[in-house]
Symmetry: C2
Amino acid sequence: MAHTSVDAHAARVRSILARAMATGTERVTLGDALGRVTASAVLSPVDLPLFRNSQMDGFAVRAADLETGETTLPVVGEIPAQRGTPAMLAPHTTVRIMTGAVVPEGADAVVPVEDATVVDDVVTIHRPRSVGEYVRERGSDVTAGTELLPASLHLASRHLAVLAAAGISDVEVRSRVRVVIVTTGAELIEPGQTADAGQVYDANGVALDAAVRACGAEVVAAIRNDTDDADQLHDSLVAVAAGADIILTSGGISMGQHEVVRDLLTPLGGRIGHIAMQPGGPQATGSFEGVPVISFPGNPVSTQISFEIFVAPLLRRVAGLPAAIRTSRTLVADVASIPGKRQFLRGRTVEGGRVEVVAGPGSHLVAGLAASDVLIDIPESTTDLKAGDAVETLQL
Amino acid sequence: MAHTSVDAHAARVRSILARAMATGTERVTLGDALGRVTASAVLSPVDLPLFRNSQMDGFAVRAADLETGETTLPVVGEIPAQRGTPAMLAPHTTVRIMTGAVVPEGADAVVPVEDATVVDDVVTIHRPRSVGEYVRERGSDVTAGTELLPASLHLASRHLAVLAAAGISDVEVRSRVRVVIVTTGAELIEPGQTADAGQVYDANGVALDAAVRACGAEVVAAIRNDTDDADQLHDSLVAVAAGADIILTSGGISMGQHEVVRDLLTPLGGRIGHIAMQPGGPQATGSFEGVPVISFPGNPVSTQISFEIFVAPLLRRVAGLPAAIRTSRTLVADVASIPGKRQFLRGRTVEGGRVEVVAGPGSHLVAGLAASDVLIDIPESTTDLKAGDAVETLQL
């Protein structure tokens, strides 16, 4: 796949991951369901409201008793909102009733407390009332058996609320995609340690971990290989592959002498090649014990942009998250681009929705990427853009 | 505050919560920092790149050696990307160098492997090279002491990456706002149990828990009071108030006989009143052992919309999350609204960006809210809207 196009490699990654993405489902409690995606439609086991109840604090009445105009009724009881079935309302009487309380048999309307005059245990109601007024009928929101929530819904608080209201305490959701992250390089050390000459802090482990989780997937293992030894990497992966849907790697796939991911994947039939893109030229795909491997180059900007272009869209879709926003914007200044490479320049939106390039194209410029809010997507064939030209941007 | 406007109550809640929102900061590891908000600007302790290194796999050279055109140089060694300081490059020699490896003293350019011809240990380079070509200078991304990240930044993966690259393993972030959730009502039972006559599943506990977390705050305690006993509620709150920044309650503040939150807050100087809104008329504010209390009515739709209107904007701002999107849309059909009340109707956006009303205005219609994607915000003075009229909507 020498100098494959970005779109062709993206299609390849998509097809490789399609199988991994067809993951299972699991049941989670409502407290764990925020942001998860329904595996199937959820039907209501009950009517909602569960029973006929009062919309107001007031008096339960029989509308027919009030037909003559101003009416005086004895208050013969009180129905709080609580467990229990109230007694039937006798004709020409009323009971106090609280919001949400069961409307008794015999009553067919509620008169709000602010519309009634009470003296001792007698209430005066000043005008007739319609049948059903301030009464919430059983099933008027939902009837048992109808759909509460559709399949593939990204669960927000209001969705969990209706499940709870229907008495449902857990929900079947799509399992999270389980990702193993591998960072490679004999130069890598953990942030927080002291770097000796030649050593570099591993930014890719942190970046991929956060990016995977931001896409609604789960990081089940993170491996840092600083040995350049493919056998050792193989052994590390054996220990975790069974629990993974995808393996993502960074580094070790370019043209140097010590390319640990290349050495791992080549005998397994992996495809290591070059994509017509900058940053992120070297890319590879493979399979490890049946788990798809998607491999990015090791420069931190290359890794992060490769993930965003090739893997993030799929993870977001499985997790029910919206796709990254693509917008056409105008350039603040002229931009030159390399012929034959699709460039993803780091950009920052400025006043008027225009976009300026942040830092250079170098794939080591991690601060430049951090200062960006968009990637500016420049086609392979474009080499010169002028201030005011329209460019497509991808929101970070 | 009888029939206060929505805006006036919102301003009151804002001012009450302002103090609670001025919370502290905490240090978290990069693995826990995704989505948190920087408490202050982060300066780089180091130059990035940490050292002068090669941008390519190739040959480290002295540009002056190549000035005459095609040049042949002996390959006297190899510099992998790993710990260590390479020997100085002698004039008229070259060393193999890997991407990211230290460029040796004496060298000032790198020739990519694909631009060189190697036979045994002799490399032929076909044309002159410029000083600095394919060399990443120390500090060319960031110099020590300059700002890596600003204060009040919502941390995404690319921000964590630059911290890691600079060797930083933890970061000072704003503490999450700590929220206690109280749901009240003698009729409430836990979802998953069997409801007897008169009993209702507590949807507000689940809804507020998820909504608070979706706003980047933390739920430190959830209390369900089904006793209508203010003393018991008082005791429950004493146990948790010290660890809370805000207490949110639902139910128990209207005009009934058994109003547990009203009974709790009244002797503490709380303000219980009526807001000119639907749903959500009854609202209250108070203070419990110095912790602000914001109280919503108990109908699940009222609780959820009250939270969204009065509390969510503040929590989102503190958590560095974007505000809910307000958009003007056109109505699919005529809508009538109650004079003197600001209505928040549940709406669903349909083709062409128009909006239709979902279900009725009743505050018990939890399924209607779940099926909505916007609230349609109708001013107090508006009573009749026609199909095609513009309305303001608030994205859920």
